[in-house]
Subunit: 442 residues, 2 copies
């Protein structure tokens, strides 16, 4: 065999081997694709009333949904009523009846979201996407029968799955469901967030995104603290304390639900592409951060009852009367008894003061207590962080910083991951900046 | 026994007999009441968009419903969307998508009636009545899946019955239903009337009342004929001819449904207490009335195709082309052939002329016909009456009356209970009055 023939043979062999190799690769690829398909992620996105306030904004949201789909995700969209619609309906109802029936209110209010889901589907069609809308009832969201503030008891998202499998973006009306008798119910305040998180849980979604008009959760209100920083992540418990403390990003209820069913969710803005804040289960790493954020609540009033007889059952009597009047009390402080009497102080929402006062008067007369003094113009300043549990001196540090700036502390209340103080409302913004700086959050 | 004692005895006996008599009467009454209770009548009332246009009008309707209840009736109320609401929603949809998807349109439009039913229930509560609202789906109105113009296939009014039995006024959203897949559908034009009549049939109601903004069906349009009279009653067939001829009280579709299921209904005004017109099955007595009414339709145009070759299949070709373009043709007249060619004339709705013309052009070129002449400014004048069947000379009388007043007849078309002529539109009102007088309808 001369060199020429050998080269030709080798070359031919090479071609054969090469073809076989490529064929095997292709075959392997096919088998591999078949056996382990790249799983599509399922994302639930919730858009609030301001994000869908008009046709232009609805089209913007549709663009965002398209981008999410283009990244290879399945998407379920939960929407609220267009901002202003719900208020308009309530006004209309009041013109017909001063105190409309709850069942009928739900029947009427549910139309707000029903309009948005249809418009959102149309907007997605306009971008060439397959999309279909479902009311809460159609999406299988079953609630109890407590109209205007129903609780979700069960979600059977069979139809959502079917429609996703058929290649649709599925748009679900937030805030609403159906009770066992087939009546339309609504979930009350923060209901659309709850719909999104509950659906994410029921669908075993990979992520739930709550789009709102803020960029995420901050170390402090950025309007009040210039160098406040957006948090990348936060634990459910911290978010709960932040939510209940007046960082009005979300209702506690939805966060509690997410915590219970371990649904990670992010809070982000529908107006930009910033990543937002991820709310999820606590991790070890999270504990390294002692203080997550500082919040201030100026919507509070302080009520002091003087000369309460210092005997068992007195506090119970006072707070039972207030609870019976449906007033929510926040902080409670009872001073040490002096000469058989004590002072009882608590805080509550400003606008509930008249109701609390009315409820208290007969009780106080009966128990022979002194007068009631109500102080508005106060503020509750709080620091929150799960790291607090394993770090000492947070309270001391906070009080120190305030004292150094001559800010007087009127009341103190603490939980495992939170310290709250009541101060003069006029000093609130300054105090917030001081504490924010003290813990190096900027 | 002296007279005095006899008188006393008789008197006592009289009292005893009298008491027994009264007791037996009472007992009989009890048994009678028990065995044959006075059956409550079930009335379905339908109120259109102008009748529920604002909170004030909704309260007025509630008053009317209360009166109907006070007369010992069970009442089912069917309502439309408040006037203007549907148009507003359509406008909104068009801002999001130029040609919105039908399924999503239905999802959105259904909210209009859903809002009204809730408001109506609230208004009835305000008058101390028990009332509850149901969407079309909740009321068991099942349709086919043809969105925006669905047909009712089945009504299972179980929930309506239950709620009536529980002492409620039941308010049902008109115009809407649900298909077998659970999607919300709407019934298209005249849909709320259809809901009312179909529900009346399914519930075996004693009467269906269609409240609208006219007083009933008149012998002629009262705005055009001064001495037009309201009809006390009219047969389904006459109503159908009146409806399709432009007496725009109701869509033919609902009348056809009522005829099919033998549902008597009355057409009356929600603004006054006048009795309206009862539409029902034909009775012997009805045939005594030769002419029921005169209608005029000025919304028509006349199309003449000249020089159509006089051979089989030409007319078929022409009207197939028009039908394929979804244009509805009304009257058709073909003149006697002369020299192997004929003229073909037909009428159609004015605004469909351009579409018809476009559809015709290729066909006419192909068949070698002459040009197309379209005449607007015509009117179709018709007389309707089931008595016509057994009375001769109606057509002659009509033509005579018009001729005497020098009104030229361009086309003639007749059915068993109707004669229509096409005349110059400018003469329509005068012609209507002449014919109305000729048949003594004033």
């Amino acid at each position: 065999m001369d060199d020429k023939r050998r080269a030709a043979l080798l070359c031919r062999l090479g071609v054969i081997v090469g073809r076989r190799f490529v064929e095997s690769l292709l075959l392997f690829g096919r088998v591999f694709r078949h056996k382990k398909p790249l799983r599509m992620k399922l994302i639930v996105q919730k858009y609030g009333g301001t994000s869908v306030a008009n046709p232009g904004r609805i089209k913007n949201v549709a663009q965002r949904v398209r981008e999410t789909c283009a990244q290879g995700n399945q998407v379920v969209v939960v929407v609220s009523a267009m901002s202003g619609v719900t208020d308009g309906l309530i006004k209309l109802a009041r013109e017909v009846h001063p105190a409309p029936d709850d069942r009928e209110m739900d029947m009427m209010l549910a139309t707000g979201e029903q309009t948005t889901i249809a418009l959102m589907a149309m907007a997605l069609h306009g971008l060439g996407l397959k999309a279909v809308s479902l009311t809460g009832a159609q999406a299988g969201i079953v609630t109890d029968g407590v109209h205007t503030k129903a609780k979700i008891v069960n979600i059977t998202p069979k139809r959502v799955h079917e429609m996703l499998d058929a290649g649709n973006v599925v748009i679900v009306a937030g805030f609403q469901g159906v009770d066992n008798a087939g009546a339309i119910t609504t979930l009350g305040r923060g209901g659309s967030d709850l719909t999104a998180i509950a659906l994410a849980a029921a669908l075993k979604a990979d992520l739930c995104e709550i789009y709102t008009d803020v960029d995420g959760v901050y170390t402090a209100d950025p309007r009040l603290v210039k160098n406040a920083k957006k948090l990348e992540e936060i634990s459910y418990d911290e978010m709960l304390e932040m939510a209940s403390l007046g960082a009005k990003v979300m209702q506690s209820r939805s966060v509690e639900f997410a915590k219970k069913f371990k649904v990670p969710f992010s809070v982000r803005s529908s107006m930009n592409n910033n990543p937002g804040t991820l709310v999820k289960e606590e991790t070890r790493k999270m504990e390294d951060v002692v203080i997550r954020g500082v919040t201030v609540d100026k919507n509070q009033a302080k009520v002091t009852i003087a000369q309460v007889p210092d005997k068992p059952g007195m506090a119970a009597q006072v707070f039972k009367a207030i609870a019976d009047a449906n007033v929510n009390v926040d902080m409670i402080v009872q001073n040490v008894s002096a000469s058989g009497h004590t002072d009882l102080t608590f805080t509550l929402a400003k606008d509930e003061v008249p109701r609390a006062r009315r409820a208290l008067e007969p009780v106080l007369r009966e128990m022979g207590a002194g007068g009631v003094a109500c102080t508005e113009g106060i503020a509750k300043l709080s620091v929150v962080g799960i790291g607090m549990r394993s770090h000492c001196g947070v309270a001391a540090g906070m009080f120190d910083a305030l004292a150094a700036e001559k800010i007087n502390i009127q009341m103190i209340s603490t939980s495992e991951i939170k310290i709250s103080v009541v101060i003069d409302g006029a000093q609130a913004d300054r105090a917030m900046n001081i504490v924010h700086a003290k813990f190096g959050l900027g």
